[in-house]
Amino acid sequence: MPSNPLALTLCGVALNNPVIAASGTFGFGHEYAQIMDVSRLGAICGKGLTLSGSAGNRGMRVYETPSGMLNSIGLENPGVKHFVEHEASYMRTLGPAVIANLGGHCEEDYLEGARLLNGADIDILELNISCPNVKAGGMAFGMLPDTAADITKKVKAISKHPVMVKLSPNAPDLVAVARACEHAGADALSLVNTFLGMAIDVKKKRAVFENVYAGLSGPAILPIALRMVHQVAHAVQIPVVGMGGITSAEDALKFLMAGAVAVQVGTMTFANPNAMLAIIDGLADYCTSEGLQNLQEIVGII
């Protein structure tokens, strides 16, 4: 039997393919499991968790922009404990590797969250230091190399799971943050989280979002995200998971060629729930037509 050309190992975890449902766009898998074959995904990244859960932000939360969307969900989530007790084991039943996405408002939140997650059957902890939609903490940890490295080191010291740090495209010096996280012991990096953007309701003469700014995602950001993944992948030795606006196998290939070992897909799933499955099929076709033993051969060729 020929081996699976899409297979890869990420942080010591075997994935059937490099297509991962992005955090915050796939719940904990329940909803899409009802309408598509989620077992075919490489991995599923759960909604961003905070220690004690949150009702998220008030007011408008999603707003479409040209080929993109702004969101200000504000990490609405049931809390780490609920996740550990109810969601992690459900996610395990789905088949794909299980990634927990951990946010926080302060250092203690992160550390206690990581501690609790040690009790969950997950494969990777994605450390979200890049959420632009929470007032305290969130993105603040991911803006500077020092704070990013500090929280990475502390979470690494606590977590028994591999830690993938999710970076913010809003960091003044993204490459420096990436390098700092690598030195602090991160097992992998994922990027990009959403770009800080703004929407104005001209009729009402006010900002659309209560927080004024919100996070931009979707195809609109792909060219910038791709450049950032290229920069970061060329600056670090640890694996990089790329994302930002991916809609098709061709888009996924761009991120792989730029240096990402795997990709995450978020917003496009909203537009077309089957987009990730089409991407997986397209990547398999690509391996066949290019005669690749394994798709990883093209990682970082540009």
């Binding site: 909803e31 998220g56 479409e64």
Partner: protein, 238 residues
């Protein structure tokens, strides 16, 4: 991918589109409709099922052109394709006994399929329909197929036409001010009322948490846990 069978204006800025190939749903559910081959508009537009015909496999939508997405729908001609993901949402419960349906403006659309299902469910029940429009009525003819009475209100407050002390289940869909009026009336009369809510949506399936609201039973997603709610649960969210 669904195919447009028919797509024509039925009132000023209001279109009726019949498609085939969309998964069939029921009253109160909706589809996320999207133009294929473009990333702008990017997200699907939630549009209620106005009629779903199991025999022909056709689904009818009635929509108002308010922005870019719906303007694009209005340009479609028969034979062209449209993406229809669904049917999503919980739909209206069919409660035994008489029914009063209240539709305001484009909120009239989901009421038609509801009337149809209620009639099929119990041919003998009484179905009274109250429709309110700002200027021009539409769809009112179609209701006469299923309803015992259809009362029109143009330019006024449709809720004030309705007697909430009657023994019946009340169903309402329409703009927020109308729903709020219905809620107040239902509360005073201690009536049973189901409302269909609207929120801006991204995924339509309950995954993005873009459309959550506070209910008496915790936070719920309008797209997945709704859009139909017992009004007592979502009074603060209307």
């Amino acid at each position: 991918m669904a195919e447009v069978i028919q797509n024509e204006p039925i009132a000023n800025g209001i279109y009726r589109m019949v498609v085939s190939g969309a998964p069939l749903g029921r009253a109160g559910q909706f589809h996320m409709l999207r133009m294929p081959g473009t990333l702008d508009p990017l997200l699907g537009r939630p549009i209620s099922i106005c009629e779903a015909d199991a025999k022909t496999g056709e689904t009818t939508f009635v929509y108002q052109t308010v922005g870019r997405g719906t303007a694009q729908f209005a340009r479609l001609l028969p034979g062209q394709e449209i993406e229809a993901q669904g049917a999503y949402g919980n739909g209206f419960p069919l409660i035994a006994g008489n029914a009063v349906l209240i539709g305001g403006g484009i909120g009239t659309a989901p009421m038609l399929q509801l009337a149809k299902e209620l009639r099929a469910d119990a041919p003998s029940r009484r179905i009274d329909v109250y429709l309110g429009f700002r200027e021009e009525a539409y769809l009112e003819e179609a209701f006469t197929r299923y309803a015992d009475s259809v009362t029109l209100n143009i330019g006024g407050y449709v809720v004030s036409d309705v007697n909430f002390s009657r023994k019946a289940t009340f169903y309402a869909c329409g703009p927020s001010p109308m729903l709020r009026a219905a809620v107040i009336a239902a509360e005073q009369a201690n009536a049973s009322l189901f409302v269909s809510l609207e929120k801006h949506m991204a995924c339509g399936v309950g995954a993005c948490l873009g459309c959550t609201c506070q209910t008496t039973n915790g936070r719920k997603r309008v797209c997945k846990d709704g859009p139909v709610f017992d009004y007592r649960e979502v009074q603060d969210a209307i």
